[in-house]
Amino acid sequence: MLRGVLGKTFRLVGYTIQYGCIAHCAFEYVGGVVMCSGPSMEPTIQNSDIVFAENLSRHFYGIQRGDIVIAKSPSDPKSNICKRVIGLEGDKILTNSPSDFFKSHSYVPTGHVWLEGDNLQNSTDSRYYGPIPYGLIRGRIFFKIWPLSDFGFLRDSPNGHRFSDD
């Protein structure tokens, strides 16, 4: 009787560890479903939309200009941010807001990316905390699942003029 209970408990613990490890590998290396909150990516991603993120392109260094990525927040490592990649390393970046009269530029340093939200008026991004190390990027968002009316691949940036000219 006791042996049976013990055996069952061990089997349960074993299966829990096994499936937990499989889930960890899937979320870490393949991708997963993420819920986005906050206004910074409107109108591409509204508050509390559910999207699909893949982590493979980060491991193969396949992040391109214009991709929407999930990254660890540089000021708080426990939270994630969702922004669009505006510049890769070596790119020339417009650092001023559209209302500014004078244009100011800076260059993205080696191993960094420049992230901006699509909602330029209401977004805390690289214009505020500077370029972000590539190692902070967790994954790339490419498919929207919820709401169903907007099901499908994500739209291009409404702020195309902010990309570098080349």
Partner: protein, 121 residues
């Protein structure tokens, strides 16, 4: 003949079953608990690689201690990088400053600036 085929099939089944258990568990362990790494370069002399280029130290990276992003001054950390002098800089919130013990022979925060402590592991 039929018996040997059954044996092969049973062996393959057991192999794949063990494979699907062992690989995720091992990867998760290496990601979350600890992994082994080799140190290259002279930047951490004399703490690591005291023998110069002849020897390269093997170290254990403790990922478990980094799960809450608690870094102390004096810790030696390893971090992801893909590749400012004699001036004072302010380390921003959520960032750490890393330096090799061997001044002038180290690719560290002196060349790439403060790093966010999320990339440390």
């Amino acid at each position: 003949m039929a018996q040997s085929q059954g044996w092969v099939r049973r062996y393959a089944k057991a192999f794949f079953k063990g494979f699907f258990v062992a690989v995720p568990v091992a990867v998760t362990f290496l990601d979350r608990v600890a992994c082994v790494a080799r140190v290259e370069g002279a930047s951490m002399q004399p703490s690591l690689n005291p023998g110069g280029s002849q020897s390269s130290d093997v170290v254990l990276l403790n990922h478990w201690k980094m799960r809450n992003f608690e870094v102390q001054r004096g810790d030696i950390v390893s971090l992801v990088t893909i590749g400012h002098k004699n001036r004072y800089v302010k380390v921003p919130r959520g960032h750490i400053w890393v330096e090799g013990d061997h001044h002038g022979h180290s690719f560290d925060s002196n060349s790439f600036g403060p790093v966010s402590h999320v990339v440390a592991c």
